[in-house]
Symmetry: C2
Subunit: 238 residues, 2 copies
DNA sequence: CGTCTGGTTGATCTAGATCAACAGGAGTGG
DNA sequence: CCACTCCTGTTGATCTAGATCAACCAGACG
């Protein structure tokens, strides 16, 4: 593990205000600093594997990390994405259970590992940090539950459109000509794995959505040409 | 709300050792006692509705409670079941968000409501109780995530068999003639809603499973006639 | 009794999976 | 620079799990 902690300091970390460490005091932060191992990850690397024991948590500085679950038959599902500012692997650490899924780097990332021993110390010292983790867990249940409900009742079309709207809420913008635009953060096959479909189905769906005038696809860029119809078909409005 | 607290005391509650209040001191328990409103619920009653604000938590003494989610199109999904000893509604209370699903009584139940104000007090006084809630939340993420992954990749058959094995693990027994037996805790339509299928599909599936000699159905009673095949088709072994 | 609820069955339809081929980069290596 | 392969995505032909629509049945129950 390449440790380049010298170049990155928690105290000056630009995304610290989004993290679980946001309300630590300076001396407490120094504990994190000492227990921190930062390094670059390339696309395709796995941070930890399903079934592994946890020995700390990972704080994403930049990049994109996916949670992938593989069942006994080898079926793979992409359960969610985590971006800069998000802490991953906290659940196994706090529950002392093996990781229930793998954390896979989906785009070049810079990630800090924080040793478990330091966390244990801080959890005692800082109730606010514990509260942050609790709130993180509660939010994660909500997200997963909503996805689960949708997966039980929704069609591939509605799940796909919903996913696009999630991306849109996070990263949507208006381009030079005023079009509502999103950049899809992951490749088509990963999108398929996020909604429990085959890549071929996504391909065909993309074509019909384009023919029906809801969206326009240019590689990973998506123009929303009929927002009302998209929201309706995504099951977001009645 | 019929309050019959006199008949039930937390101090002597037989399922307290399973609950979040298990390691409260006597004076702390008295705070729960004072803030407690217990009553009987009939099948079909709703304890709280999706979208409602939370004002406390519900501790199930006896009976069965389902978490039901209904989307904007009116599609209903049954996200999970909670039995005696389980606390429901804690998530909304802790996150101060509206309930994301409804709690529906699925069989005659006796349930204690505990006022939020008391909980807030206790969370400050008893870090152990906070830890219990944290662990509860972490366990719930794990369960929901596993269900979500399965719903993305599995067939109706595998989800149905898996659900039966879950029931079997909780309540399975050997009957007089030594058959592996489970009692399904909910009706067919609810099973359908738990796996995202139509009741008709379950009906047909039941017949083929019986023909194939995996299971035998007698109303809500299920005899497991070929455990290996069931485990395999449920995706629980390779 | 009639009415309701929960469950079954049949006929048909369709969304989406599966199998198979192919095409356009992007690297890589000679 | 070309040839090669890998990777991602697309398209076509076909198949099937499961939905949908509709009728029906048995027990519970006021």
């Amino acid at each position: 593990m390449i440790d380049n902690k010298s170049s990155h300091q928690c105290a000056t970390c630009p995304i610290r205000h989004k993290t679980e460490w946001r309300d630590l005091s300076d001396p407490e932060l120094e504990i994190v600093e000492q227990a921190k191992h930062a390094r670059d990850y390339e696309t395709g690397e796995t941070i930890y594997h399903q079934g592994d024991a946890s020995d700390g948590v990972y704080c994403i500085q930049t990049g994109l990390v996916g949670a992938r679950y593989i069942d006994v038959d080898g079926n793979s599902a992409l359960l969610g994405l985590n971006e800069a500012g998000s802490t991953v692997g906290y659940r196994s650490f706090l529950s002392k259970q093996p990781h229930s899924n793998s954390a896979e780097v989906l785009s070049p990332s810079f990630i800090c590992f924080i040793e478990g021993a330091a966390l244990t110390k801080l959890l005692i010292a800082s109730p606010q940090m514990g509260e942050r983790f609790l709130q993180h867990a509660l939010a994660d249940i909500g997200k997963t539950e909503a996805l689960y409900a949708r997966s039980l009742t929704g069609s591939v079309k509605s799940k796909f459109l919903h996913l696009i709207m999630v991306f849109y809420k996070q990263h949507g913008y208006q381009d030079a000509s005023g079009n509502l635009t999103v950049q899809l953060p992951v490749k088509r096959t990963d999108i398929a794995e996020m909604i429990g479909a085959q890549p071929e189905s996504i391909s065909r769906l993309v074509r019909t959505l384009q023919n029906d005038g809801l969206l326009k696809f240019e590689g990973r860029k998506v123009l929303v040409t009929d927002m009302d119809a998209v929201l309706f078909d995504a099951g977001l409005v009645f």
